[in-house]
Symmetry: C2
């Protein structure tokens, strides 16, 4: 797959292939845009070739795996630009992938080599945790570069991002309920929460406190138990959750939950959850939902609480809890703007959000060029 010519390239400022023979590191750092600030986004560690090894010879599998890695990092990096722009942050969009099985390859030596590669970009990219990378692994990378965020401790550490993500989703649900159901509170509103990880658990707490009825599921029993210990909840099986009778469906687990198979079963009139990449195909499922009168909160807008919480770390600023919370609570207003534009234009919310984000980035680029020309 070509890079410039890839459909997902979309004017990335940089796509950096990195290798280190001594540790076996193969990584791609994608910097979509630095118009708003340093490109910030997580580091995914994934064996992209694994799925291809089942059906293809080893060398073909490796090549296909690399193609998937390029596609993944480009798509996610642009997604971070949009997310950071819509959250009103001084952060650009980037993402990185390390290719391989983290259990076999994810040594401190490899992470330090990766840190040196991040360092080479001189602060244009900041890494954070993502699928396949742990706090320990990022701490190892931080031995060779200062451009890592979401670390524990230190002068500017922002701690666990989950409560901030959950608060953002909660305020997003409030705004969605207000827009779609005309209700000012969540009293008696039925919310189905799919996935009870850190974010899901904090979200359930907020919902209960606001008087909502929660329906929950998880593939891990201990997570369900933890939620039941703290209050009431209706429990359903993981393959039923999207189809339960409720007002709000909140996907908070893996991505791709909104696809041709699940779409017809949804009874909720609002979809608003923390999961990344909820739509299987951007501009497709969101349009189908719109036509069916289901309000969809664009995932990267509603789940921005986590990245909002680390912004201060990139800028080496002391955490200001009040300012941070205010930014997280603004997610509701942003969603309302998207919903109003979607209603007015008769176009899907996901597309509207992308256009708003592109507009913010374009204006920042123009301002930068104008400043440079002076």
């Amino acid at each position: 797959m070509p890079v410039f010519d890839s459909r997902s390239f979309r004017n990335h400022e940089n796509v950096v292939f990195c290798s280190d023979e001594a540790t076996g590191l193969k990584a791609i750092i994608a910097v979509h845009s630095t118009a708003l600030g340093p490109a910030t986004g997580g580091t995914r560690f994934w064996d992209y070739a694994a799925i291809h090894r089942r059906s293809a010879p080893i060398d073909v599998a490796e090549t296909r795996g690399e193609q998937d890695a390029v596609y993944d990092v480009l798509r996610l990096s642009r997604g971070m630009s949009f997310k950071n722009a819509m959250a009103g942050l001084r952060l650009g969009g980037g993402k990185s992938v390390i290719i391989g099985n983290p259990r076999e390859l994810g040594t401190p030596e490899l992470m330090r080599a990766f840190g040196r590669m991040i360092n080479r970009l001189g602060g244009n990219y900041y890494a954070a945790e993502d699928v396949g990378t742990s706090p320990d692994m990022l701490a190892a990378a931080s031995e060779t570069t200062a451009y890592v965020c979401g670390l524990d401790g230190g002068d500017f550490g922002t701690g666990d991002p989950s409560p901030h993500t959950a608060l953002g989703v909660f305020t997003g649900i409030q705004a969605s309920v207000k827009h779609r159901l005309g209700k000012d509170d969540l009293n008696g509103v039925r919310v189905a929460v799919q996935g009870l990880g850190h974010v899901g658990q904090y979200l359930v707490d907020h919902l209960r406190n606001a008087g909502a009825k929660v329906i929950v599921t998880d593939i891990v029993d201990a997570n369900i138990k933890a939620v039941l210990e703290r209050g009431e909840a209706e429990v359903v099986s993981p393959d039923e959750i999207h189809a339960v009778d409720c007002d709000v469906y909140a996907p908070c687990a893996l991505g791709g939950t909104l696809n041709p198979k699940t779409l017809g079963d949804i009874k909720a009139t609002i979809i608003a959850g923390a999961a990344n990449n909820q739509l299987e195909t951007e501009g497709k499922e969101d349009e189908q939902l719109r036509k069916r009168g289901i309000l969809y909160a664009p995932d990267y807008v509603i789940n921005a609480g986590g990245i909002i919480s680390v912004e201060s770390e990139v800028y080496k600023e002391k955490v200001d809890n009040a300012a941070r919370e205010a930014k997280v609570l603004r997610i509701g207003e942003t969603l309302t703007k998207i919903y109003e534009a979607s209603d007015k234009q008769g176009r899907p919310t996901g597309v509207i959000a992308n256009e708003m984000a592109e507009d913010i980035i374009r204006k920042a680029n123009e301002a930068k060029l104008a400043a440079a020309a002076e």
Copy 2:
């Protein structure tokens, strides 16, 4: 074409795809190795898709052009690692390509955008002139980055590299004649010089001063005239030069002159010239030459005078003419070592040179790792 999985990738530290929407910049910066110092190599500006547009639809041509650009930059970048290592320089190997027609795209704005991309690598890559880039274009890039070398003037400017390249080729011819013909001087030795650009003209001067008989050609009449004004020379047509009766054939024009079509015609027993990429296929033509008893001076070893001359610029050191000349004259000794190893092992000189270069780079990497571990 994949990047990591490309046959020419060979453990490049970085391959950086860069784009700038405002100026239309599409560039690839390849950093093969920084083991010995900053990766240093020229910036090529070339419309890689042009040749494909004749036979393929526009989008296919663009994709194929990008593949060619990736292949070109990776091959050239590794070549610079080898060249700089064999010249004993404190420079690693890198190269960059800007994709497109320089006459249409090569504006100062684009070169400044390219300079910002070079700058992003924080001194891990230094650019210089190459096919398609002019001193003016590099001067524009140098407005946005300090990591450009081969500039005119300034405190550390090293000026025209051609005389140094020519001196290196001359000393290489001397060493080759000594090794193959057992002669300590060039008195009466017949040398065929293909291409009379700056380097070729300086080389002819050296050869004449040493008593050699020169046979010359060029596709530009003015160049031949300039050479004849300064002394005697036998002139032949460009398509005859490789086949003339002589001791030394010195290709000093375009690459690829040693290929299946020309190889059988060569009457010289030594091939030693300034052109880049003289072999169409590494490890193939040099082996055929060896079997026929023709001594081949690996192109990147004998033509290193130019890069030797700019080393001080990268390190911001005042030019030391004596030290620089001593380094250039060492090219002869390096070639002698290659020739002796080739004779002893019965393997082609090009392969021997590559292995020596790889060995130097590997040792430097090990030393770096050992130093980092302390």
